[in-house]
């Protein structure tokens, strides 16, 4: 393999945007280095590490090489994905508990306090999501209304379609759950039964049944289809919103507002995570094992913690980007 071919291979560690900016000159440097010292595992490791850092920087999670507004937008998009993953897994755990409370109140103080904390956090997530979506949708809508819809119609259509799919599917499968939406006791729990059922149905795909194909095979085909398609709808919803954030030409002021909401979302994530840990560490299984914390819940907490840490970093970078953009 020639030095040029090896340089081209090493260059693949870096993201496309970085390669288009630095690719040629970096390849020249690599060719010179490889010609001088053909074998160097340290150089290979250094290039790989540099490529990963460049990818993280491209996602707005580290570094400061990007143009400030672009960095803020990239960080906000990463933050959005982190919050979506957090709320997806968080809502799956929370909805199990709220459904349990439809049947019986927990007999353990830690579980009861945890559920109140988690429910308050979920409400805060809803408020923050609405506040974050409003300026983005307003900006995109006003651009479309002014006839400057280039690049916005596709993401807008995707967001609307995925939101409709989630609403229709969540409502349909939530109503089919006998313990909540359609049950005569619904409403006696901490949160309205319909909300608990909708949340449970929307996060049905977060399930340990994926590890038990035999049990999964006994599920109704429609439910299986929903479990497979709902995460795609969530991904489409977040991806479409991310595209709108990138393309809607949000002003530095709006970006700053979104970054502050992101910081607030991180605080809410910390509160939710605290409640979750309290339930898993100190909560009991409760009446009829309704509040039992299993291995999937412990794994869920790990996912929540990783998403929280990444979101915190993205929020920090978004604030730095918006400060530089002003």
């Amino acid at each position: 393999m020639t030095p040029a071919q090896r340089a081209a291979r090493l260059l693949r560690w870096y993201p496309k945007a970085w390669r288009s900016r630095y690719g040629e000159e970096f390849a020249e440097l690599l060719i010179a280095e490889i010609s001088e010292r053909p074998r160097s595992p340290i150089r290979t490791a250094d290039v790989a590490r540099g490529g990963i850092v460049a990818r993280l920087a491209g996602a707005g999670l580290c570094g400061c090489a990007l143009e400030p507004s672009a960095q803020a937008r990239a960080s906000l998009v990463s933050l959005g994905w982190c919050v979506a993953i957090f709320t997806g897994f968080g809502a799956a755990m929370w909805s199990q508990l709220t459904i349990g409370w439809q049947w019986s109140a927990p007999d353990n103080e830690a579980t009861a306090v945890a559920m109140v904390v988690m429910s308050a956090a979920m409400l805060a997530f809803g408020v923050l999501a609405a506040a974050a979506a409003a300026p983005v949708l307003w900006s995109a809508g006003s651009r479309i209304a002014r006839g400057r819809a280039r690049g916005l119609l596709g993401p807008t259509a995707l967001v609307v379609a995925c939101a409709l799919v989630m609403f229709a599917g969540g409502t349909h499968f939530g109503n089919g759950w006998p313990g909540t939406g359609g049950h005569p006791w619904a409403g006696q729990g901490l949160v309205p039964g319909g909300v608990a059922a909708f949340s449970w149905a929307s996060t049905l795909w977060v399930s340990s049944y994926w590890a038990h194909p035999g049990a999964l095979a006994s599920f109704p085909a429609a439910e299986l289809a929903w479990m497979a398609s709902s995460p795609l709808a969530v991904a489409g919803l977040v991806g479409g919103t991310a595209a709108l954030v990138r393309r809607a030409e949000l002003s530095p002021r709006v970006l700053g507002f979104e970054a502050r909401l992101g910081t607030a979302a991180c605080a809410v994530m910390a509160v939710f995570l605290g409640g979750c840990c309290a339930w898993i560490v100190d909560g009991g299984p409760g009446p009829r094992n309704l509040f039992h914390a299993g291995a999937i819940d412990a794994a869920g907490v790990v996912v929540l913690a990783i998403a929280f840490l990444a979101a915190r970093q993205a929020a920090r970078m978004a604030r730095a980007g918006t400060a530089r953009a002003r």
Binding site: Y22, E24, E25, F26, A27, E28, L29, L30, A32, E33, I42, R43, D46, V47, A48, R49, G50, G51, V53, A54, A57, G63, C64, A65, L66
Partner: protein
């Protein structure tokens, strides 16, 4: 000539570069006597400091320095793009080296008084 336009921007400090402050100082010091491309930077830095910056580390630091407005690329038809110091970069380097010299002077004085000059 290096651009003077960035002279009105806030002064970034190399101390804020964290673990990249070392490579950043070496790169700025190398560019202090004129523009250089990546390979020339590597060889120059190796010659005056004995440190050979690996390619990934070099370009990570170059990207950060450029992002902070301390260096800028020079127009070139060559695939090897040279970089030069900006006015802000020159001031940041001077401030950083002045601070380092104070530490070096102090350390040498204390060494001399406690351990002698040998």
């Amino acid at each position: 000539m290096p651009s003077r336009e960035s002279a009105r921007e806030p002064e970034p400090a190399l101390a804020g570069f964290g673990r990249y402050a070392g490579p950043a100082t070496l790169i700025l010091a190398s560019l202090a006597d004129g523009a250089k491309h990546g390979y020339a930077l590597t060889k120059d830095i190796e010659s005056f400091s004995g440190v050979r910056l690996a390619p990934g580390t070099l370009y990570e630091a170059l990207a950060r320095l450029q992002g902070q407005g301390l260096i800028e690329p020079v127009e070139s038809h060559d695939r090897r793009r040279p970089y030069q110091l900006t006015a802000v970069g020159a001031r940041a380097l001077r401030a950083h080296l002045d601070a380092q010299r104070k530490v070096a002077d102090l350390g040498l004085r204390r060494l001399a008084s406690s351990w002698g000059t040998a």
